[in-house]
C-alpha cells in the first residue's frame, strides 16, 4: 500500500538501531511525510524542549508516493523542532535520497538523543550501521560526500549531510542531499549537527512495489504527467527558466523586497534574472545556465545547473569551482541579490555554490546579510566587527566574503549565523529584522501582495512562501485571479492554500505540481497507491488536520497569537514605487477573520469544536 510500513529508529545516545511498523492509524489521518512525521514528533517530544538538546528528535521522512513513478515522487522532509524559531520545522527536499530511502524499505528514520562522538548512518537495505565520522567532521558537505562515495566505492550511494556552518551552530543550517538539493529552512541541519550526526548514506535496491491498484495507479500517473506537460508553467516556464522565471514578473508587480525590504523594486533585477542566466557571457561565450535538471521522477525539471565565469574575482584562483553545480533558484537569487542590492550574477552563483557546499539556507542567509548591511549603513555595525570589510549594500565582494565566513563559522560569520532577528537584537535595532517568529522572509513583499502578509504572519514555521503560495492566485491567476492589493477574501484563500499544501507535502510529491494539478489530479494517484478513501475532499480535510496539529505544537511550545505578526516596516512604511505604491500590509484587516475561518478563538487557539471535527 505504497508505504513501506517500516520505521527505522536510531538512538544516537546509545548507538543502537531498531525497526518498528509504521503507525497505520496515524497514516490514515496524516498520510505521510510532513503530516505523519509531525504527528510522531508531537507525540514523542516535549514541545518546550531545547531544540539543540538531546530531548529533541530529528525525523527524515518520505511520503507514500516517494519512490514511485508519480511525477515528482521523490520528495522527503526533515521534521524537528527548529532552533531558529522554536516552532515546528518541516523542510522538504528533492534530489534522490528520499526515493533511495524508500527503496531501501523505510518510510522514515527517527533520530533520538545525541551521539557522544561524530557519527554517520549507513543504510544498505536491511543493513544499518552507525559509524565514526571523525574523518569528515569539520569538513564541508561536498567533502563528506566525496569521502563516503570513495569509502564505499559506490557511485549510486545517496548522501545527505551537514557542513561546517551547522557544526559551528549557524541557526539556519540545512541538510544538503545529492550535493545541491536541500532541506533548507528553519535550521534542520543545525539540529542534525547538534546530535553529532554528520551524514546519512543510503543505498536501496528493494524498490517500491506494494501499489494497491497498479492499473489504476499507472493510469492516474500518466494522466497527471500529461497535465503537467501541457500546462504553460510546468510544461514550459519552469523547465526553461526555473523558478527564476519570477524575477522580472515579481519586480514588475512591485513586490520584490529590496535592500532589507526598504524598497519593493530592484533596479538590477533583469541582470540576475532567468533571462540573464541564458545570456552568453562576454568572456567565453557560454551562458551561466548549463542545463535544467530533474529530481527523482520529476517530469517538470525546474532545477538549474550552472557555471561561474572563470575570470570572475570569486573563483579565478579556485579551480574547484570551475565545474557545473546547482545554480540559482528564484529565492536564492532574490535573497543573495535583490535583498543585498547585489546585481552580479556570478557573485550570486558563487554564493549559492558555497551555501550548498557547506549547507546553509540562502534565503535566511541573504536576508541576514541584508540586515547586517543596513546595520552597517546606520553605523551600528562597523569595520571593527567586519575586520575591515566594507559591508555595503550592492557590494559583491562583501557578499562573497560574508558567505565564506558564515559557511566556515569564522569571525563575523558567527554573528551572521545567528540569523537576522538575533543579529539585529545584538546590535540594538530589533525593528530592522525582517522576520516572523525568527525566520527570515522569502522573495515576495507583502505590501504588494496582501495575502502573502497573512501567509507569513500565520505560517507555522515562521516567514515562508511554501506554506501557502497565494502568489499563485494573486499574481499568476492560478487557480483563479485575485487582486494582490485587496485584503477581502484573503483569509479564506490563505486557509485553502495552507490546507492543500499541507497534504501535498505529506504525499511524497512536489508542491510545484500544483501550478497545474489540483487535489483532483493528486487524489487518484494517492488512492490507487495507498488504498483507502483518499479523495480531494478527504485530502483537504487531512491537510487542515495537519495545519492544526502544527499549530497546537507551536502553542504548546510557547508561541502565542502575538507571534502572528509582521515587522513594523511592512505594516507602517508604504511601498515607494510600482503598482503597490502607497500600500502597507493590512494584516489587521485579515487576521481576525482568518482565526474565525480556521475555527480558532481570538487567541488563535483551535476551539474544542474544531479539534473534534478534525479528530485531533
Amino acid at each position: 500500500m505504497a508505504w513501506a510500513n517500516n520505521v527505522l529508529r536510531v538512538n544516537l545516545t546509545e548507538g543502537t538501531t531498531s525497526n518498528e511498523p509504521l503507525n497505520m492509524e496515524w497514516a490514515g489521518l496524516y498520510l505521510g511525510q510532513r503530516g505523519l512525521a509531525t504527528k510522531y514528533l508531537a507525540e514523542e517530544i516535549d514541545p518546550k524542549c531545547d531544540a539543540l538538546g538531546s530531548g529533541n528528535k530529528l525525523i527524515m521522512t518520505t511520503g507514500p508516493l516517494t519512490g514511485t513513478m508519480a511525477s515528482t515522487g521523490g520528495r522527503y522532509s526533515v521534521v524537528t523542532k527548529s532552533p531558529l524559531t522554536g516552532a515546528v520545522a518541516c523542510s522538504n527536499s528533492g534530489g534522490f535520497i528520499g526515493a533511495e530511502l524508500k527503496a531501501a524499505g523505510y518510510d522514515m528514520i527517527i533520530f533520538e538523543g545525541k551521539s557522544p562522538r561524530p557519527v554517520y548512518l549507513y543504510v544498505e537495505n536491511d543493513k544499518v550501521e552507525i559509524a565514526p565520522a571523525d574523518e569528515i567532521w569539520g569538513q564541508s558537505v561536498w567533502a563528506a560526500d566525496e569521502w563516503l562515495h570513495k569509502k564505499y566505492q559506490d557511485p549510486l550511494l545517496r548522501i545527505a549531510a551537514v557542513g561546517r556552518a551547522a557544526e559551528k551552530g549557524c541557526l539556519y543550517a540545512a541538510v544538503v542531499n545529492d550535493l545541491h538539493r536541500a532541506a533548507g529552512r528553519s535550521g534542520v541541519g543545525t539540529v542534525m549537527a547538534s546530535k553529532n550526526l554528520k551524514a546519512v548514506a543510503v543505498r536501496g535496491t528493494k524498490g517500491v512495489g506494494n501499489i494497491k491498484d497498479p492499473g489504476a495507479f499507472m493510469q492516474a500517473v500518466n494522466a497527471g504527467k500529461k497535465v503537467l506537460a501541457e500546462n504553460a508553467v510546468t510544461g514550459q516556464g519552469l523547465p526553461t527558466y526555473g523558478t527564476q522565471v519570477l524575477m522580472n514578473v515579481i519586480n514588475e508587480v512591485g513586490a520584490m523586497p529590496t535592500r532589507n525590504m526598504r524598497e519593493v523594486q530592484f533596479e538590477g533585477a533583469s541582470k540576475i534574472s532567468a533571462e540573464a542566466m541564458h545570456e552568453p557571457r562576454e568572456s567565453d561565450g557560454k551562458p551561466n545556465l548549463v542545463t535544467n535538471a530533474g529530481c527523482f521522477g520529476c517530469t517538470i525539471a525546474c532545477g538549474r545547473i550552472s557555471t561561474i565565469d572563470r575570470g570572475h574575482f570569486s573563483i579565478e584562483n579556485k579551480p574547484q569551482y570551475w565545474g557545473a553545480s546547482g545554480g540559482l533558484e528564484y529565492e536564492a537569487a532574490w535573497a543573495l541579490g535583490s535583498d543585498t542590492g547585489v546585481d552580479d550574477i556570478d557573485a550570486l552563483t558563487y554564493a549559492n555554490f558555497i551555501c550548498n557546499e557547506d549547507g546553509i539556507d540562502p534565503i535566511s542567509f541573504g536576508a541576514t546579510v541584508a540586515a547586517a548591511m543596513e546595520l552597517y549603513q546606520i553605523g551600528a555595525i562597523t569595520k571593527e566587527q567586519t575586520g575591515g570589510v566594507e559591508l555595503k549594500f550592492g557590494s559583491a565582494e562583501a557578499l562573497a566574503w560574508a558567505t565564506e565566513v558564515t559557511c566556515r563559522g569564522e569571525g563575523f560569520g558567527l554573528d551572521l549565523g545567528m540569523g537576522s532577528k538575533r543579529l539585529c537584537e545584538k546590535y540594538g535595532h530589533p525593528d530592522l529584522s525582517m522576520t516572523v517568529k525568527g525566520q527570515e522572509f522569502p522573495a515576495y513583499d507583502p505590501r504588494g501582495i496582501q495575502g502573502m502578509g497573512l501567509t507569513y504572519a500565520t505560517s507555522n514555521r515562521g516567514a515562508c512562501h511554501l506554506r501557502s503560495y497565494t502568489v499563485s492566485s494573486e499574481v499568476m491567476g492560478v487557480p483563479e485571479k485575485t487582486d494582490p492589493l485587496v485584503t477581502e477574501g484573503k483569509p479564506e484563500l490563505v486557509k485553502a492554500f495552507q490546507d492543500a499544501t499541507s497534504i501535498v507535502d505529506s504525499s511524497g510529491l512536489c508542491v510545484f505540481t500544483t501550478f497545474a494539478w489540483t487535489l483532483e489530479d493528486i487524489a487518484p494517484q494517492v488512492a490507487a497507491a495507498c488504498g483507502g478513501d483518499w479523495t480531494a475532499e478527504s485530502m483537504l480535510e487531512a491537510g487542515e488536520r495537519i495545519w492544526n496539529l502544527e499549530r497546537e505544537f507551536n502553542l504548546a511550545a510557547g508561541l502565542t497569537a502575538a507571534d502572528d505578526t509582521l515587522p513594523k516596516r511592512l505594516l507602517t512604511e508604504p511601498a515607494q514605487t510600482g503598482p503597490a505604491k502607497g500600500n502597507v500590509n493590512r494584516l489587521h484587516e485579515m487576521l481576525p477573520k482568518y482565526y474565525e475561518v480556521r475555527g480558532w478563538n481570538e487567541q488563535g487557539v483551535p476551539t474544542d469544536e474544531t479539534r473534534q471535527r478534525l479528530s485531533l
Binding site: 513513478m69 527503496a103 535544467n292 517530469t299 553545480s325
Partner: protein, 153 residues
Amino acid sequence: MLRALQIEPEKCTGCLQCELACSYQAEGVFNPAKSRIKVFTFHDEGRFIPYTCTQCSEAWCMHACPVEAIVLNEETGSKDVLADVCVGCKVCTIACPFGTVNYNQDTKVVYKCDLCGGDPECAKACPTAAITYVDADHTGLARMRAHAAASAN
C-alpha cells in the same frame, strides 16, 4: 521495419522516469537498481546520459553464452535472455563490451534490455523525448538534421 532506441542525451534531465518504467515493466517494482536502462550523471559537466543495450547484430553476449540462453527476437531485433535456460555463469556480462548485460543476485540469472517486446516503456515514460523508438535505419536522423541546420547558418 525494425525499430531501435534512439538516445539524445542533450535532452535528458536525469529524472529517472525511464528507469522507473523499465523496472516496473520488467520486475513489477519501481526500482532503478533493477532497471535495464541507466542514466549517468556527469556532475561537473552538467550532463545526463541514458545508456542501454543497442542490440548488436552480432551480439557478443549471444555468441558467448554456453547454453544458448540469449536468443534473437526476429520481430524486434532484440537479443532476449531466456531466464529458465540461463545458468547465471555471467560470461555474457564479461563478453559485452558495453556493460549492458548484468547479473541479478535475487533471481540468479542475467538480465538485459528486450525492448519490452517492441513497445519500450522507457521511451513512453521519457518526458523530454530524450529516448525515442525510431526506424532502426535512421537513428542518426535527428542529429543529422541538427547539424544540417547548424551548417546552413
